[in-house]
């Protein structure tokens, strides 16, 4: 039972995380919390299936380092891009008073990129962390 849930949980957790990010600015929650929630689903998989099993069941996990670095770059880029336009860092667009396109509660503006970056980074970092803790155990056991 736990194993089945562990295999399936990352899907819904991603949905939930997407919801957190989408509501981000209007309601509780941000990229960080969303990232940790997905990482918790991954953690369950590690606990239930073991490191080798989890990584076999969820092959996408091996992209975790890329997600971490990519997320950081995305967040840094969205933070420092305004420098090129002559604004202070972390100046978001559209600026105050300008119109923001929205899809439902999802607002399309640069903080969203920033949040996405944080989200990816947190998933990546925590997955790598879990991987190391689990792997070093298995390697030691061998």
């Amino acid at each position: 039972m736990v194993r089945v849930i562990a295999r399936l949980l990352p899907g819904p957790s991603l949905m939930f995380a997407a919801g957190l990010i989408a509501k981000g600015y209007a309601e509780v929650g941000d990229g960080f919390a969303a990232g940790v929630i997905v990482a918790l689903a991954v953690a369950l998989a590690y606990v239930a299936l073991g490191a080798a099993g989890a990584e076999a069941a969820l092959p996408a996990l091996r992209h975790a380092p890329k997600a971490a670095v990519g997320g950081l770059l995305l967040a840094l880029a969205s933070g420092f891009f305004p420098l090129l336009l002559g604004d202070p860092p972390v100046t978001h667009r559209p600026g105050p008073g300008e119109h923001v396109t929205t899809i439902g509660t999802l607002e399309l503006f640069t903080p969203l990129l920033f949040d996405l970056g944080v989200f990816l980074l947190v998933i990546g970092v925590l997955t790598v962390l879990l991987h190391h803790l689990a792997r070093s155990r298995e390697e030691a056991a061998r």
């Binding site: 981000g24 600015y25 209007a26 309601e27 509780v28 929650g29 941000d30 960080f32 919390a33 940790v36 929630i37 990482a39 918790l40 953690a43 606990v47 091996r62 975790a64 380092p65 971490a68 670095v69 997320g71 950081l72 967040a75 840094l76 933070g79 860092p89 972390v90 978001h92 559209p94 105050p96 008073g97 923001v100 607002e107 503006f109 903080p111 920033f114 949040d115 970056g117 944080v118 980074l121 947190v122 970092v125 925590l126 790598v128 962390l129 879990l130 991987h131 190391h132 803790l133 689990a134 792997r135 070093s136 155990r137 030691a140």
Partner: protein, 748 residues
């Protein structure tokens, strides 16, 4: 062994020639771009500017640094190749030499042109850093390392005085720009203090008594470095700074008098010690101390004539001294000997070098038909203007110079032949010949040199300076003084016994009471302190934690005793949801105590989790849902990670936990109680005094214009977004650290 093996042609020294080309380009720049300058903002909030100008003083020192530099670098291409060959070191070690040498020249030009006191400080220290690596180039030799460190410490520590002076002046006049400072400074205590501090920094750099001892040591450097350092770069930098800020120094009679005293002392000490040294480069090193003593003395005399004389002196001395050092290097390379007592009669075997070195020596000894004659003429003129004391000092100085440099040249090139001579490489002789030619040319056509010195002196004197050095065949005081100096110097040369005892006594006294001992003692004391701190601090982790916590606790305690407590503590009121919060807090307290007392590690982990979740629930109740959400997920993750880490520890031995040392246990409890109590008093006081208005009012007001609803999220992603960027970077760095520790750096 140390004979130039002409047969093996080593590969061309490309980096060396590049440095040479750069120096030549700089020379051309200084020659043709006089008067140019620019000023860019550097750190506007600190009032710093990158201000450079090629004024008269800058042109003089710039030409010296690049001109002598170009020749020394050309000489160095050959010298360094041989040097590395003799020491059986790979030719690639050039790359540890030439970049520093180039930077040395660049920072010297930068120092000459800088018009901002902080900028001057930066270049001043940059030359020291370069000299450190260059003096310590033979890093396998302990002496070289020691000397490099000594040069660095003495000059850099003294340079701090310059920074202090800069800050003082800025506080008083609101600018670091030197021209404005010179304008605004009035005679006052601050001005005197700042001038004295500047002078200290400059004097240490110019190796003046009592901070002279590093210079003779610095001869551990390869000869091109010595030649450059003594004539145009490091040591000249001190006098350059004196010239740059001279109008400021002139505001204080005391500082000027101090300069005269220090200069005179250096002239005598350096000169007397140079009289009896045996190692070639040491004779020249003590001579440098003495020669810069002249210049310091001239700046101390002050006024138009003395400033002009000082500028001219720098030029003449730079030319002569670099030539003499290169002579010493060439001789050592050709014979393998570096002591006067083992050399002699080289004149017949290397006649070109002998003649060129003779011209350079004559320049230093101020013989007619060399540019050096005029340097002494101007010195004497300035001394006469000042009074009888300086007249005597000037004659003594010139006498000593004549005597020691005469001994140097005669010892090397005349007398019975000693030492075997290999072929002297052309490239080791040619630069000496060029410099000697320049010196003799200056003795015939002095006009261009005089113009350079005039322009430089105009800057340092703060008024137009005109000077007209020339040969006068009459009985004016300058000529009489010169003749007296030659006669006395000749006497010393013929009767060395006259000075033997004096020089020995000086050396012995220096050995016993000299500042070298103070330096060594300071270094030893510092070493002991460092070792003691190291022993206390590093050996035991508990000890080092105590070293931080105990003083911190004491400080906090002192602060509390000193603070009035009336009305400082509030109990607060309990209302509404607080009745739920109180039990949660109680749960936190209980779980915390359990954590502290648990005997099994797993209990520690679980109790920690209880603490964390109780706190998360509490955050939700105090209107912090964002924190609550993050706290829940982080706490879950943390518990998981903690348990996972526990599972790979060696199994705990339950018997072990009963500690054998009750004293230690009681001490721990006591320390913890004390820490808790101090934290309680501090935190209670802190929480009792909420700030009246917070920056968050502004955040609340601005949130809608950031298109957001949740103020906390907007703060994290927008208002304080830079914090968040740093924070997530820390996350990634931490995980890289984990990967390094656990799996040797593999991220996956």
């Amino acid at each position: 062994m140390a004979v130039d093996r002409g047969g093996t042609r080593p590969t061309a020294d490309r980096p060396g020639w590049s440095a040479c080309v750069i120096a030549v380009a700089g020379f051309a720049l200084c020659l043709f771009a006089g008067g140019a300058g620019f000023s860019l903002p550097w750190a506007p909030s600190l009032d710093l500017r990158l201000a450079f100008a090629l004024d008269g003083l800058a042109v003089l020192y710039g030409l010296l640094a690049t001109g002598v530099g170009a020749l020394v670098f050309a000489y160095g291409t050959r010298y360094l190749t041989l040097h590395l060959e003799h020491q059986r070191r790979p030719a690639v070690e050039r790359w540890r030499f030439w970049p520093w040498m180039t930077l040395f020249a660049v920072s010297m030009v930068g120092l000459a042109t800088a018009q901002d006191l902080v900028l001057v400080f930066v270049f001043f220290d940059l030359t020291a850093v370069c000299s450190y690596f260059l003096i310590g180039f033979d890093r396998a030799e302990r002496e070289a390392r020691r000397s490099a460190l000594m040069a660095l410490l003495v000059t850099v520590v003294a340079a701090v005085a310059m920074l202090v002076a800069a800050v003082l002046l800025h506080a008083e006049h609101g600018t670091f720009a030197i021209p404005e400072l010179l304008d605004r400074a009035e005679p006052s205590t601050t001005t005197t203090l700042a001038a004295a501090l500047l002078a200290v920094a400059a004097l240490a750099k110019s190796a003046q008594v009592p901070l002279h001892f590093w210079l003779p040591k610095a001869m551990a450097a390869p000869t091109p470095v010595s030649a450059y350092l003594h004539s145009a770069a490091m040591v000249a930098a001190g006098v350059l700074v004196l010239g740059r800020v001279h109008p400021l120094l002139a505001r204080s009679e005391a500082v000027l008098t101090g300069l005269v005293v220090v200069g005179a002392a250096s002239v005598v000490v350096g000169g007397v010690l140079a009289l009896r040294r045996d190692v070639l480069k040491q004779v020249l090193a003590y001579s440098t101390i003495s020669q810069y003593g002249y210049m310091v003395m001239l700046y101390g005399i002050g006024g138009a004539a003395a400033n002009g004389a000082a500028a001219f002196y720098v030029l003449a001395h730079g030319i002569a001294k670099s030539a003499l050092f290169m002579t010493a290097g060439a001789v050592t390379m050709a014979t393998g000997e570096d002591r006067l007592s083992r050399l002699g009669g080289l004149g017949r075997r290397v006649p070109v070098l002998a003649v060129a070195a003779g011209a350079a020596s004559a320049t230093l000894a101020a013989l007619p038909l060399t540019v050096g004659f005029f340097k002494d003429e101007l010195l004497f003129a300035a001394a006469v203007e000042r009074g009888p004391v300086t007249v005597v000092l000037a004659v003594v100085a010139a006498t000593l110079t004549f005597a020691y440099i005469g001994r140097f040249w005669i010892g090397l090139f005349l007398g019975p032949a000693r030492g075997s001579v290999g072929a002297a490489s052309t490239l080791l002789v040619a630069p000496v010949v060029v410099l000697a030619a320049v010196a003799v040319l200056g003795g015939v056509v002095v006009e261009p040199f005089a113009r350079l010195a005039e322009d430089a002196a105009t800057v340092s004197a703060g008024e137009p300076v005109t000077m007209s050095p020339g040969y006068h065949l009459d009985a004016r005081p300058e000529n009489l003084m010169a003749v007296a100096a030659w006669a006395l110097g000749g006497l010393l040369l013929v009767l060395p016994r006259l000075t033997d005892g004096l020089s020995r006594a000086f050396a012995a006294a220096g050995e016993r009471f000299g500042p070298r001992r103070a330096y060594d003692g300071t270094l030893r004391a510092l070493d002991r302190v460092s070792a003691a701190v190291h022993d206390r601090e590093v050996r035991d982790l508990r000890g080092s934690i105590a070293a931080v916590l105990v003083p911190a606790g004491l400080l906090i305690g002192v602060a509390f005793v000193a603070t009035p407590t009336a009305g400082a503590y509030m109990v607060g009121i309990v209302e509404g949801a607080d009745w739920v919060i109180l039990p949660l807090l109680a749960l936190v307290v209980v779980a915390t105590v359990v954590t502290a007392r648990a005997r099994v590690r797993l209990v520690v982990a679980l109790a920690l989790a209880v603490v964390g979740f109780a706190l998360a629930a509490l955050y939700a109740l105090v209107g912090a849902p964002d924190v609550a959400l993050v706290a829940v997920v982080v706490e879950t993750m943390l518990t998981l990670v903690f348990v996972a880490a526990l599972s790979r520890l060696p199994r705990e031995d339950p018997d072990r936990f009963v500690p054998g040392d009750p004293v230690r246990r009681r001490r721990d409890v006591f320390a913890a109680l004390l820490a808790g109590l101090a934290a309680f008093v501090a935190l209670w006081g802190f929480l009792s005094q909420p700030a009246a208005d917070s920056v968050s009012d502004e955040h609340l007001r601005l949130t809608p214009s950031a298109h957001g609803g949740d103020v906390v999220t907007v703060i994290v992603a927008d208002f304080r977004g830079l914090d968040t960027l740093v924070e997530i970077t820390v996350l990634l760095v931490a995980v890289v650290g984990v990967a390094t520790l656990v799996r040797r750096g593999r991220l996956w």
